[in-house]
Symmetry: C2
Subunit: 311 residues, 2 copies
């Protein structure tokens, strides 16, 4: 092997890394994510050029949010504005004059966590990224699962409450309405507008409509009982989705990533407790382990680089 | 290869088959499922002896309902009374003096449908058996997925309505409360007790409490509007779970088996229509195919035999 470059395209920034044979990051760079497909290809080419200056890159991988086909086309992504049906593999490959491997960002992150992060040592993991929405990836039987079209791991739109709140996707009660960062904020605002969460509203500056997840976390860390109750409600929704994935896939371990990882100390206990209560036949089976992601914001870029090696 | 024997243990009967190299069934036998673990091992040994009389069996596989460990232990099954923690692989292997491969019955059925049934020709299928409860199996990336403990594919206990009706498993709103044979009966009885479903109640003999799924099917086939409405509600719940599995696994095809297959002509259209409405980004992705199982009640036994070849 040789050095491999990986770039993770986020809603705000593009993060590029170079990894060595062991998967260690030896260089990083970042740019703002531009608007529009042409500009995105330009920025990706710049990042790869910068990462490749002074060293030979054995392979190049790109991780993108949204529905990414096996052929490397970004069909659409709520987080990459003004980009539809963008043939990233083709356009960037032509620009660079070499093969580019393109993956879903959360799938790439799952692969990286499995190889060199919190998912090491087992053959079956499910990574769930709890950010603004929910994404994820599946490793089963010692192999990354991508699905027929490359769309496996879109856990956020599993319906967990058919009469639940509307989702921007057009359906109701998707898991990410409850168990994501925006879900936590919504649970908290509902409680705050209903007159609860006095301390949380205070932390948020006094307006119940401005309550966000981090305000709940701050108040919960102070021991505020109402904030802790919201954390518990949030943890129940997270656990419910994890239970559903356990029934389907029986992973050895869940790796939780995304913004939630910052509140790990608050959520870990409640998620595990609810998991026990919601799992089918909990007394007859070893429970999956619960780990928080180890690679942080670089997981997607590292995974994209790693996947480019086997593309 | 040579002939392989497979036995599928059901709640009522045990069905044994011998398959040839091509997966064709060349012999079958059946016995009533006895009560208790010792008696079950006796019956399984009898079936294998009968299937092996006059021919050499290259390998032997058993499919069992419930939580079956990778080591071949039946931990518990709602459908096999008075049997817990039964080491089927060890006890039957000792009795027969040879290796016995033990699998979950729905996982085995999924493998058989993929190899020689309705799932042929693609690399990613999800089989869902809609019987009294719901079971299933997953083939992803061209391999059967069994999970860390062997428990993958227990789709029936995915929670799809956290405040839904209680499930015998101890939780609420499990998918099989709605989308199984007993789910259909429950949807129908609720409607009948509420004064609807006049024709269905008539077909059932006049007592709303005795309405079962087949009465709904009969009346729906006559064109009864109220019965068709229950079929539509049932199809919505089936589709909801299939959508959740699509988000997680992105299969090329669903294979639906179990008792539902008998009503295929009634359900097919409504399930497809609801699937379109419930799937995330339906316009941006090819939809999974929807097929009804081709191997009927023999799928589990055929799959158990096939899996014994690679054990």
């Amino acid at each position: 092997m040789s050095a491999a470059a990986g770039v993770d395209v986020g809603g705000t920034k593009c993060l590029g890394v170079v990894i060595d044979d062991a998967g260690e990051v030896v260089a990083t760079t970042r740019r703002l994510t531009p608007r529009g497909g042409g500009a995105l290809i330009d920025v990706l080419a710049e990042i790869v050029d910068e990462l490749g200056a002074g060293q030979s890159l054995g392979s190049i991988g790109i991780g993108l949010p949204g529905l990414i086909t096996r052929g490397g086309v970004l069909r659409a992504s709520p987080n990459v504005p003004e980009v539809f049906e963008l043939d990233v593999a083709g356009l960037l490959g032509d620009r660079l004059g070499r093969v580019v491997a393109v993956s879903n960002d959360a799938t790439a992150a799952a692969y990286a966590e499995w190889q060199v992060g919190a998912g090491q040592g087992v053959e079956d993991i499910v990574m769930v990224t709890l950010g603004t929405g929910i994404g994820g990836g599946v490793v089963a039987g010692g192999r990354l699962i991508v699905g027929e079209n490359g769309f496996a791991g879109e856990f956020g739109h599993m319906v967990v409450d058919p009469v639940g709140p509307p989702c921007p996707c057009g359906r109701r009660g998707c898991w990410e309405r409850f168990a994501s960062g925006s879900g936590l904020a919504q649970l908290a605002r509902t409680a705050a507008v209903g007159g609860r969460l006095g301390r949380v509203v205070e932390v948020a500056g006094g307006d119940p409509a401005l309550v966000r997840g981090e305000h709940v976390q701050s108040a919960a860390r102070e021991g505020d009982a109402e904030a802790l109750a919201v954390v518990d409600e949030f943890a129940r929704w997270v656990a419910l989705g994890l239970v559903n994935l356990t029934n389907a896939l029986d992973p050895a371990r869940f790796v939780l990533g995304g913004g939630l990882a910052e509140g790990a100390d608050l959520y870990f206990g409640p998620i595990e407790r609810w998991f026990d209560q919601l799992l089918y036949a909990p007394e007859l089976r070893p429970h999956p382990g619960l780990a928080f992601a180890a690679l942080g914001e670089r997981a997607g870029a590292i995974g994209a680089a790693m996947l480019s090696r086997s593309a």
